[in-house]
């Protein structure tokens, strides 16, 4: 078995790397006292560990895809 299209994967990695480098090249230094907006609840990467885990569990058990921002845990007999 193999990945369907390795070029898609390679292009994806290149695209994300370019996006990241582009974003980082325009980074402005933000003073510590000026980071209040970054601490807003709406700026978090997920809505809470437990909720993110539950949502991930639901989607993973109903879709062929998995993974993202973290490594996998144990499986289940969800059919």
């Amino acid at each position: 078995m193999r990945y369907k299209d390795r070029s898609h994967l390679a292009r994806g990695i290149c695209l994300l790397t370019m996006l990241y480098l582009t974003a980082c090249s325009s980074v402005k230094t933000v003073a510590p006292y000026d980071r209040g907006y970054l601490a807003e609840d709406g700026m978090k990467w997920d809505e809470g560990t437990r909720n993110a885990k539950l949502k991930g569990h639901v989607y993973t058990s109903k879709e062929a895809s998995s993974g993202g921002a973290g490594s996998a845990g144990g499986g289940c007999g969800c059919n």
């Binding site: 369907k4 980074v27 510590p32 970054l38 993974g67």
Partner: protein, 404 residues
Amino acid sequence: MAQARLEAAVAATKPPALTQLPGSSPLMKRLGARLLALPAYQTGTALADAPPAFTEVGLRYTHYSEDSIDQDAVIFGATDRYDIDVTQLWIEAPVGASWSVALDVQNDYQTGASPWFVGAQQDGEPGVIMSGASIQDNRVEVGVTTRYFWADGNAGFSVSHSDEDDYEATALAFDASWNTADDARTWSTSFSSSRDTLNPTQGVIPVFITEEDLDTQSAYFGVSQILSRTAIARIGLSYTLSEGYLSDPYKFRDQRPDTHERLSLSAGYRRFLIDSDASLQIDYRYYADTWGTDSHTVELAWAQNLPGGLLTPYVRYYTQREADFFSVIADTEAPHYADDYRLSSYGAVTLGARWAVALGENWTLELEAERYMTDADWGVFHGDAAPALVDFWRGTVGIIWRFD
């Protein structure tokens, strides 16, 4: 002692410049309170990662309900699909000045029927043979996580075990994140390993195995970067390898490879819009695996601050390409075959909203509802439509209590 611990934690995370902020407006008071709880990568260089300042106890209940399958798509069996009740209970507390520990317990109770296999109806159209009478199963998962915090980051170790009538899983996981000298960038990594054991139960439908194992190893590496005073971005790459029994024992025609490699690339962006007092959230994931499946997932959310709470409506789009060995009616002459709708090409849209409401200083109420809808025509990849695609509702209510 608890007060002393709180003061120590606050002292460790208090930005020196915070005292210079004008504190009279509600916005500045809110920002000030949140700055005290910031992880190091979002605060100043002199600040340390620190354990949570409070003990947190939470209880959440979720009801998940799949729509009944269309009677026209069923050749035989019940049309009702799964209903699942999920209860989550947890406690997380600081231990000393550098550690935290969390205990999580989750119980899932599910009832309903699921597709057994797909055959041809009298008119030649594919139809589903369902598993017949309602299946009942209960799953309990217990996990313990301990985390160590130091000046430039934190690291956690967790162990979890889940048990149900026909499935048992034990998983170990390690994660770490550390910040660059200016705390504008955070590197993250995690590794996990799990051993699953299947013991399918003989019931209304026959199964052809008695016990099988599945081993899974997974790794993730990512980085987040502060872009400006109102924007932050991250990218990540994860790899997962599963070896062992990967077929579905409750499906009649299901023979999958015994190795499965999965890669996913993820990217995220958050921007706070000052005039709207809201955050824009954008997430994307590209997934590919050695079964020939790949997929795109995009999620957009708008997190609106409201008096005493945060309301976040969101929309998620997902599309996947069918696995190499999938066919609407399984080809049992092939080395590997499956008619599982979850391996078919389709698109899915999720519409949802969550609402976090502060009830006084120590209590938070969480509410969430979402609708998940699928259609073979909504996908960007070609493939025959599977007759058993699933739509579902999910609703969650939770209460969190924080105290020192």
